[in-house]
């Protein structure tokens, strides 16, 4: 992985803090590793390690029932695991924000990641979740900030895809 921690991960963290996010469920990915460490280090944030991504869809909805903001972190391979649980989000009009690190695209060695990568955007859109994509570091902070505002001010549903070009190819 990249030797230097990219500042865009800190930009995501800063956006979480500014927006008052309190719960961060995740299935880990190397692309989110620094952000997850920062979430664990902050006493005002509750990290929730999950066994599968759909758990985080449900826990985000439970947090909102209790008036708290929650953002789900996952990698693209987990998006398909969420499909039916997203009917909870859509049917009850829950706010929903997930930040997805992309695997299986730019410079990928592991072809097993490719099918779900190709289906990631479609999977969200077919369940009523808007997709935004970040390809360059300077886009990340403003995009997360804008999405947080839309999602929690008016219960919108957004997935932000962090492209593999942004994250960097995995070194095997």
């Amino acid at each position: 992985m990249n030797a230097v921690t990219p500042s865009w991960e800190d930009d995501i963290f800063d956006a979480f803090k500014s927006a008052g996010v309190s719960q961060v469920p995740y299935v880990p990915d190397a692309g989110h590793a620094h952000l997850i460490r920062r979430v664990h280090a902050d006493p005002d944030l509750t990290p929730l390690v999950l066994t599968t991504e759909e758990e985080g869809v449900a826990s985000c909805c439970g947090a909102w029932l209790g008036g708290k903001k929650s953002v789900l972190l996952m990698q693209s391979s987990g998006v398909g695991n969420c499909v039916n649980m997203l009917s909870l989000v859509t049917n009850c009009n829950f706010p929903f924000l997930t930040i997805v690190s992309m695997r299986g695209e730019y410079g990928e060695f592991n072809s097993w990641q490719v099918p779900m990568a190709r289906a990631t955007q479609t999977s969200f859109e077919m369940m009523g979740v808007e997709v935004m994509r970040c390809n360059s570091p300077d886009e990340v902070g403003p995009t997360v900030d804008a999405a947080l505002y839309s999602v929690f001010a008016s219960e919108q549903k957004i997935a932000i895809l962090l492209s593999q070009r942004l994250i960097g190819r995995k070194v095997w």
Partner: protein, 195 residues
């Protein structure tokens, strides 16, 4: 094994929710949702009509968000089994205010009473115990059920009760299917304004 199952599902749920105060209730899709509604509609009930496997995790997000309130997830064996990994995720958080009640008749009641895994020996209380729950019980009588419901907050983490119920199949009691309404009134119960 070998204990006689006499608890009826509707009566069990009546015992769980009577004099509930401000306890928050999340119910799994199917019969558990009907049972909770049949015991009396309440603004602090979150009824699921879908999202199978999600009840425990909704309860977890809610319990962390509302640490000063008791949260009870009332679900069935089939719904709990679909989201069984959630027991590991709950155990990783150890919320003191979360109780999970599995109404276990060993069958998928909504789809034709096919046998579930618990009929083949899978023990959800043992699974929860293996995940790290320090308070798990398998309940066969109403007195034990009442004691579980009335147990005060424990600092030892979440609780799970498997309540062995008969396979009686009372008529459906259908709560609001409008999820937006149910969500909004639940939030208003807790003082959160609609968007």
């Amino acid at each position: 094994m070998g204990k006689t199952v006499t608890i009826e599902r509707r009566k069990a749920v009546e015992h769980l929710v009577r004099d509930r105060g401000d306890m928050l209730v999340v119910c799994g899709l199917g019969s558990s949702t009907y049972d909770v509604f049949a015991a009396g509609d309440h603004d602090a009930n979150f009824y699921l009509w879908g999202a199978m496997g999600g009840a425990v995790m909704i309860g977890l997000g809610l319990a962390i968000a509302e640490p000063d309130k008791q949260v009870m997830v009332i679900t069935g064996d089939g719904e709990a089994l679909m989201g069984v990994g959630a027991l590991a995720s709950v155990a990783a958080q150890k919320p003191d205010n979360l109780s999970i009640v599995v109404l276990d008749n060993g069958h998928f009641g909504e789809t034709g009473m096919q046998q579930s895994h618990t009929s083949y020996g899978v023990d959800l209380a043992d699974i929860a115990s293996g995940c790290g729950f320090t308070n798990t019980q398998t309940i066969y009588d109403y007195d034990t059920l009442d004691a579980f419901r009335n147990m005060p907050n424990e600092p030892s983490g979440p609780r799970l009760a498997v309540v062995k119920i008969t396979t009686d199949n009372p008529p459906r009691a259908l709560p609001h299917v409008d999820g937006i309404y149910v969500k909004t009134r639940f939030r208003q119960f807790l003082g959160h304004a609609p968007c």
